[in-house]
Symmetry: C2
Subunit: 295 residues, 2 copies
């Protein structure tokens, strides 16, 4: 990670700056090969390659319908969760990133295959930076993530009382960082896996032009927390992040993608990657004209 | 306070047990001379004395419409607040106390004189114990307190994550009591006074029989947080608690109430106390047939 620690903004420019050095050294770097970014970049590239002459609108929708049964718990560092929901939103529109207040745009999204309906919030996510660069035909690109009312309520209250603070406060002569103390109270993340039920549903809705006609395509993967846990003793969040990382490495090792330089996923051929998603536990489906009424 | 520390149940029996000893020693003890209990016992006794032959239904309604402008803060030990809203409810009905789950009965109450409408929750409060003993004609007696949705949300979340726990947890080799640490994060209670706006409205709705006819009487005091602060540099919660304590002592010192034994307020003549309420900053009003539609 080449970002400065104290101003992490999920920017690729720190990594893109190494393009020439890597090329000269004959080395390859593959950027962001998780699920989102990663699989979502592949989904977009695959849709663009096979379904469109030109893509104009992109909505990446990340729904986690998992329920661990605790009132509040987190898989990750709660600091990261809080930064997610308090960071200003940026989306791509008419050639530039537009900034809006954090969590200020929300809509309901009904996942396919009975996964259910969830509130999704527009937010910034790092694949928007590379996808809008590599698909300059995009007029608008947005990222959406689901958050439950209960989750947001807990983050709001914990923020209100200062429990998410990262500055130490003095307590009985000791310096205590509130969010570190909070972590000791929350359920151990390692206990969440076996308890988490439900599914993730992450995909891309792309609108564009094919043979002069406008069309919309949705490509998505659904992943079941309990099935993941049964297979690898970890739930779908880890599974969906780890498998694409493995496939990305596999593409390089198998020489399907190997070339010197620093590359985002969508700069490489999506077909072998998408084939391997189907082979390695992350099967995906396409719905043409899904009929979503997204803002 | 004669209650055992670890099973505090706001019971008078520990104090009533001293009745004979105090009587023999020629000493007087006056129990519960705050606002509620205290003024509310006087309100009930005054209504019973002047408006009814027999009182049948009593609703004590404690509304605090104050707003300190913080997302969450508390005047008291948050432990006490939490015990209040998590304690099982008890109300008097047909000769016995009936237990119901905490905060399970809620209704909206519109205060007189433009103080506003608030959600009030039925809960146990200690004056119910003495009032139902000393007014055995009561068929039903209930206590209600207002809580804002925001306040309850904060208590719920803080409880959920364990921040209200009173058992120490180990953090970096030190034993830390979560609720004690929470206190260090919350606004200093002494800063609330000057910021708190709005009014308290505490009173008693009594239904009973006078001259063979059923009637309803509401007697209440409204107290303005900012006016209290201007007068005594403390807001209405302290003011409404402190002034009745002073008046109770005054009744004893002036020999209006002095007699050996242990007494609840309503066992003594309410008239001089109620006169002094009007003289000392806690004026009260009576509404006959207020038209409330209380459950």
């Amino acid at each position: 990670n080449y970002e400065p620690l104290d101003t992490a903004k999920f920017e690729y420019k720190w990594q893109w700056a190494y393009q020439e050095k890597f090329e000269k050294a004959g080395l390859m770097a593959l950027l962001g090969s998780g699920f989102d970014p990663g699989a979502t970049n592949m989904f977009t590239a695959y849709i663009a390659k096979h379904y469109f002459d030109e893509i104009h609108y992109l909505d990446i929708i990340d729904v986690n319908g998992g329920d661990h049964g605790y009132p509040f718990a987190t898989n990750f560092n709660p600091e990261i969760n809080i930064r997610e929901v308090t960071a200003e939103c940026r989306h791509w529109e008419n050639g530039e990133f537009v900034t809006t207040p954090a969590m200020s745009l929300k809509q309901s999204f009904t996942c396919p295959d009975g996964v259910g309906s969830y509130n999704i919030y527009r937010m910034y996510h790092e694949e928007l930076e590379s996808l809008t660069k590599h698909f300059p035909s995009l007029k608008k690109a947005q990222f959406w993530m689901s958050f439950s009312d209960n989750y947001l309520k807990h983050l709001e209250v914990l923020g209100n009382v200062g429990m998410t603070g990262i500055e130490p406060v003095e307590y009985e002569g000791q310096q205590i960082v509130p969010i570190q103390f909070l972590k000791t109270l929350l359920p151990d993340p390692s206990t969440l896996g076996p308890r988490t039920k439900g599914k993730t549903c992450i995909g891309c809705v792309v609108r564009g032009i094919k043979d002069g006609k406008e069309k919309t395509v949705y490509l998505y993967n659904i992943c079941d927390h309990q099935e993941c846990y049964a297979e690898v003793q970890s739930q779908a969040i880890s599974y969906t992040t780890g498998v694409p990382a493995m496939i990305g490495a596999k593409m390089m090792v198998e020489q399907k993608w190997m070339k010197a330089g620093v590359w985002n996923m969508e700069q490489l051929d999506p077909d072998p990657f998408m084939d391997d998603m189907n082979q390695h536990g992350l099967p995906w489906k396409v719905i043409e004209e899904p009929g979503y009424d997204l803002v």
